[in-house]
C-alpha cells in the first residue's frame, strides 16, 4: 500500500469531464509531478485530494485512510499550497505563520521552534513584520510554503508553487523540497517547468483529464517517437512555419535556436533539398537526445 493512492478518479463539471479515470500512487520520500496544458484537470485532481472537490467516482486513500470519510484524521498529515496566493495580505509574515500554525494546534515552544526552522530556509526573518501583501513574488511563495509546512505534514501538495518566481528563488525553493524529501515527506506538485519535472521521481503528462504517459523522467523521455536535431539559427516565425510545411518534418523554437524533429532513423541529409530551400544547411543540424519538453510538445500535438 502506497502512502497516497488515487484510484480511478472521475469528475465532470456540467457533464464536461475534467478528470477521467485518473490514478496515481506516491510513497513517502518521493516527488511526483503532474504536467499538462491549461485546463487538463491538474488543479481538479489536487483539490479532490485535499477534499475541496468531491469526485463523481473513484477513491483517494492517504496513509490507509479514506479522504472523503476520514478527512479529520488526514488533515494533520496534509500540507496544501494553492495556486493563487491565499495568505492574508494585511497580516505580517509572522502573523501569517502564527495563524496557520494555530489552525493545526501548533503553539508555544513548538510554534517558535517550527517558525525558526522555516525562517532558516526561507530567509524571511528580516521581513517578519512586513505585510505579506508587500512581499515580492518569490518571497510570497516561500511564505506560503512555510505556512503549509508549519504543522510538519507528511504529504505536501503544491499547485504550481514556482509560477512567477525568479530563477534563483526557484532553485532555492527546490533545495527546500529536496530536503523535505530526504526527511521522508511525500510531495505532489504541478509545474509548467520541465526542468522541475526532471527533478521529480515520477511524473505524468495529463491531457483533457486523462493520463497520457507516466514514469520516471528517464522513462518519459524514452516515449519520444523520432529523432531530434538542434539547429543554431535565429528561429524566426517564417523559418519555423516553412520547416513545418515539409513532409515528415516539424520544428519548434528552443531558446536562441530551434529543434528539428524527424522520423526515427531519418537524417537531415535526406532533406537536403527542402532544408536548403529554407536556408538551412543540413550539416549544421546537430543530433541531440530529446528532452522532456520535446516529449510534452509531441504528446500534445499527437493528442490534438
Amino acid at each position: 500500500m502506497f502512502f497516497l493512492e488515487v484510484s480511478h478518479l472521475q469528475k465532470a463539471y456540467n457533464s464536461v469531464p475534467a478528470v477521467n479515470d485518473f490514478s496515481l500512487s506516491l510513497d513517502k520520500g518521493k516527488i511526483y509531478a503532474l504536467v499538462g496544458p491549461d485546463g487538463a484537470g491538474k488543479t481538479t485532481i489536487i483539490r479532490t485530494l485535499c477534499n475541496l472537490v468531491r469526485p463523481d467516482k473513484g477513491t483517494i486513500v492517504i496513509d490507509n485512510m479514506d479522504v472523503f470519510s476520514q478527512f479529520d484524521m488526514i488533515k494533520p498529515l496534509l500540507g496544501y499550497m494553492p495556486q493563487v496566493f491565499s495568505l492574508y495580505p494585511d497580516l505580517s509574515v509572522e502573523e501569517n505563520l502564527v495563524f496557520h500554525a494555530g489552525i493545526y494546534g501548533v503553539m508555544g515552544d513548538k510554534y517558535r521552534t517550527r517558525r525558526d526552522e522555516m525562517y532558516r530556509f526561507s530567509h524571511l526573518k528580516p521581513f517578519a513584520n512586513r505585510r505579506a501583501g508587500d512581499l515580492s513574488g518569490g518571497m510570497k511563495q516561500k511564505l506560503a510554503l512555510s505556512c503549509a509546512l508549519m504543522h510538519d505534514p507528511s504529504l505536501l501538495v503544491l499547485d504550481e508553487p514556482t509560477t512567477g518566481v525568479d530563477p534563483l528563488s526557484r532553485s532555492q525553493f527546490w533545495d527546500v523540497l529536496l530536503r523535505l524529501k530526504t526527511q521522508g515527506v511525500a510531495i505532489l506538485l504541478t509545474t509548467p517547468y520541465m526542468d522541475e519535472v526532471a527533478r521529480a521521481d515520477n511524473a505524468c503528462f495529463i491531457f483533457e483529464g486523462r493520463k497520457m504517459a507516466e514514469g520516471s523522467p528517464d522513462e518519459l523521455v524514452r516515449i519520444f517517437d523520432g529523432s531530434v536535431f538542434f539547429i543554431n539559427i535565429t528561429p524566426d516565425a517564417r523559418t519555423i512555419e516553412r520547416l513545418n510545411n515539409i513532409e515528415n518534418v516539424s520544428a519548434t523554437r528552443f531558446g536562441a535556436g530551434l529543434h528539428l524533429y524527424l522520423p526515427s532513423d531519418h537524417s537531415p541529409e535526406q532533406y537536403r533539398v527542402e532544408l536548403t530551400s529554407v536556408g538551412i544547411n543540413p550539416s549544421i543540424a546537430e543530433p541531440i537526445e530529446p528532452d522532456l519538453e520535446d516529449c510534452f510538445i509531441q504528446m500534445i500535438e499527437k493528442a490534438v
Binding site: G36, P37, D38, G39, Q83, L135, S136, G137, G138, M139, E160, T163, G164, V165, D166, P167, L168, S169, R170, S171, P192, M194, D195, P235, D236, A237, I240, T252, R253, F254, G255, A256, E293, F296, I297, I300
Partner: protein
C-alpha cells in the same frame, strides 16, 4: 543606429526610505525585443510603471517614444500598449465587451474598435472565446485576450510584465510566436519574464537586482562572459554573487 524607443538615464524611484529603482540607465532601439529580467522584487514592475506613464520617477531622465515621462504621460499612454502582470480585464465581461471597453478608453471610434477586434480575433485566434465571460477562460486564453486589449490601438511599443506566467509550455511558445510577428512588423517589445528560454529569444536583455541593472547585453554574450552554459545558471550565479556581496 535605430532611433530610441526607450531612453532612460539615472532613473530612480523611491517609496519613503526604500529605493525601488536606483539610477538605472538603458536604451532600447525601435524594433528591438528587449528582455527586462531580474529577481523578484528587483524593481522591474516599478520601472515599467514609470515607463508607461503610470508612476512618476523621483529622479533621472526618461523618454518613451520620444515623450518625456514626467510631462507627457498622456502621449506615452496613447503610443504604447501595456499588459500587466495581473490579469487586468473585467472577469464578468466577455472578451468582446472588454475589448470594446479598452477601445473606448483609448478614444477609438466604434467602427475602428470593431475593425480592430475583428483583426485581433483572427490574429490571436480568439473567435470562439470572444463571447464567453472572461472568468471562464483558461489562463492561456485570458493572457491572449489581455494581449489583444493591449494591441487594440496599434501601439508602437509594447510593455509586457510577465505575460506568460502560469501559462503551459505549448501556449508559451504560441504567445512568443505572436510577439515575434509583432517584432517583425517593427513593434518594439519590452518584456519581463522568469523563463530563461524566453529571455534567450530576445535581442538584448538586462538583469536587475535590488533596484540596479547589474548586467546588460545579448543573451549569448552574457552567458559567455560569465563562463556559464546557459542563461538560467548565469542568472542564478550572478544574483547569488550580488547577494553575497551585499551580505
Amino acid at each position: 543606429m535605430n532611433p530610441s524607443a526607450v531612453e532612460i538615464e539615472h532613473l530612480s524611484r523611491s517609496f519613503g526610505s526604500f529605493t525601488a529603482v536606483d539610477k538605472i540607465t538603458l536604451n532600447v532601439s525601435v524594433g528591438e525585443t528587449f528582455g527586462f529580467l531580474g529577481a523578484n522584487g528587483a524593481g522591474k514592475t516599478t520601472t515599467i510603471r514609470m515607463l508607461c506613464g503610470l508612476l512618476l520617477p523621483t529622479e533621472g531622465k526618461g523618454k518613451v517614444a520620444g515623450f518625456d515621462v514626467y510631462r507627457q504621460s498622456e502621449q506615452i499612454k496613447r503610443t504604447i500598449g501595456y499588459m500587466s502582470q495581473k490579469f487586468s480585464l473585467y472577469s464578468d465581461l466577455t472578451g468582446r465587451e472588454n475589448l470594446n471597453f479598452y477601445g473606448a478608453a483609448y478614444g477609438l471610434s466604434r467602427s475602428r474598435t470593431k475593425v480592430g477586434i475583428a483583426e485581433l480575433s483572427d490574429r490571436l485566434e480568439l473567435h470562439e472565446f470572444l463571447d464567453r465571460p472572461s472568468y471562464t477562460l483558461p489562463t492561456g486564453w485570458r493572457q491572449r485576450l489581455a494581449l489583444g486589449a493591449a494591441l487594440l490601438h496599434k501601439p508602437k511599443i509594447l510593455f509586457l510584465d510577465e505575460p506568460t506566467s502560469g501559462v503551459d509550455p505549448i501556449f508559451r511558445r504560441r504567445f512568443w510566436a505572436l510577439l515575434y510577428d509583432l517584432a517583425e512588423e517593427g513593434v518594439t517589445i519590452f518584456v519581463t519574464t522568469h523563463y530563461m528560454d524566453e529571455a534567450e529569444y530576445c535581442d538584448r536583455i538586462s538583469i536587475m537586482h535590488q533596484g540596479r541593472i547589474v548586467e546588460m547585453g545579448k543573451p549569448f554574450e552574457i552567458v559567455r562572459n560569465h563562463h556559464q552554459t546557459n542563461l538560467e545558471n548565469t542568472f542564478i550565479s550572478l544574483i547569488s554573487q550580488q547577494d553575497d556581496n551585499n551580505a
